[in-house]
């Protein structure tokens, strides 16, 4: 039953990101050209609602749907890993026009060359895992 719920949530996410064109290479390019408010509107309104929902979940100490306590982990404190990793991510995001979620969505939509991007992303994650101990965090 839980499995079906995760699939439904994923399906919902896929439809939203496809239909809002957040999964379109063109929208990402346009965002980095500051030519349209569209992507900023999506991220901004997601954040506005997201902040309210997360604060409510934290303050009300509401339990999960399955009765467990909810623990939202804080991100580890650092600067180096976030700025370097983030910049590398941004370079790839603008070139490929897709972040990890949209890669799966575009595969489902039938844009097969995205599988090359996805393969590259898995390789990138693999090489990160190998080099992890040698990189500054």
């Amino acid at each position: 039953m839980k499995s079906v719920l995760y699939i439904i949530v994923g399906t919902f996410l896929g439809v939203i990101l496809y239909k809002s064109e957040a999964a379109s290479w063109f929208r990402i390019y346009e965002m980095f050209q500051f030519d349209s408010f569209h992507m900023y509107g999506i991220i901004g309104s997601a954040l506005a609602v997201g902040i309210v929902l997360v604060q409510w979940i934290k303050r009300s100490k509401v339990k999960s749907f399955f009765g467990e306590p909810i623990n939202i982990q804080d991100k580890e404190r650092s600067f180096t890993r976030y700025i370097i990793g983030g910049t590398l991510f941004g370079l790839g995001w603008a070139l490929g026009g897709a972040c990890p979620g949209p890669m799966y969505i575009l595969a489902g939509a039938g844009y097969w060359p995205i599988l090359i991007v996805l393969f590259g992303a898995v390789m990138g994650a693999f090489i990160y895992g190998i080099l992890r101990d040698k990189l500054p965090h």
Partner: protein, 185 residues
């Protein structure tokens, strides 16, 4: 309405809702950790302990991935009679100058994402490099657009703000400095 592109003020709040539902299911909204799960499934644990994980604990997120593949299929094949993305005219002009004739008429540029484009080895290299940077960068930064820009910032995390600033530094460098070098001539 459903068949038209969805406006930002519908999409943004719905994305936040997806995040909240996942948190209320005792999980989190983060798509890039699945890349590591694929490494683990592929046997990367043989190379470093980093990839030795309990796959059962990652299963839920793979189901979200499966769902998003289905969602992409539905969005494209059922809910979108017209795939053209109505980007601004300024963007279309800039892309035409770079040689992207498909701007304004397609969902993804056919110059990179069509089977015909794959006849050019350069396209393979660009797609692979793009993916590699996303995969390496997101794991280095510990999250992507969903994990940092949406989840992290919603939880007012300073590390996520630094990561998102990084996303923009990288994106701006790519689009404004590197694109003219790759596509310009």
């Amino acid at each position: 309405m459903l068949y038209q592109p969805w406006p930002w003020y519908i999409a943004g709040p719905l994305i936040a809702l997806v995040m909240a539902v996942l948190i209320l299911m005792g999980k989190r909204f983060g798509m890039s950790s699945n890349l590591e799960t694929f490494c683990s499934i592929g046997g990367a644990g043989k190379f470093t302990d980093y990839f030795k994980v309990d796959l059962k604990s990652r299963r839920w997120n793979l189901l979200v991935v499966l769902g998003s593949v289905i969602g992409g299929f539905l969005g494209a094949r059922v809910l979108s009679p017209n795939p053209a993305v109505q980007i601004s005219e300024k963007t279309v002009a800039k892309l035409n100058e770079l040689g992207f004739e498909s701007s304004g008429t397609a969902y993804l540029p056919t110059e990179l994402f069509s089977l015909e484009a794959l006849a050019h080895p350069t396209v393979w290299i660009l797609l692979l490099v793009a993916g590699f940077l996303v995969g390496f960068g997101t794991r280095y930064a510990g999250g992507c657009t969903s994990g940092h820009a949406i989840s992290g910032l919603s939880n007012l995390q300073r590390p996520s703000l630094i990561a998102v600033i990084g996303f923009f530094i990288g994106g701006l460098i790519m689009v404004h400095i590197i694109f003219p070098l790759i596509f310009g001539s």
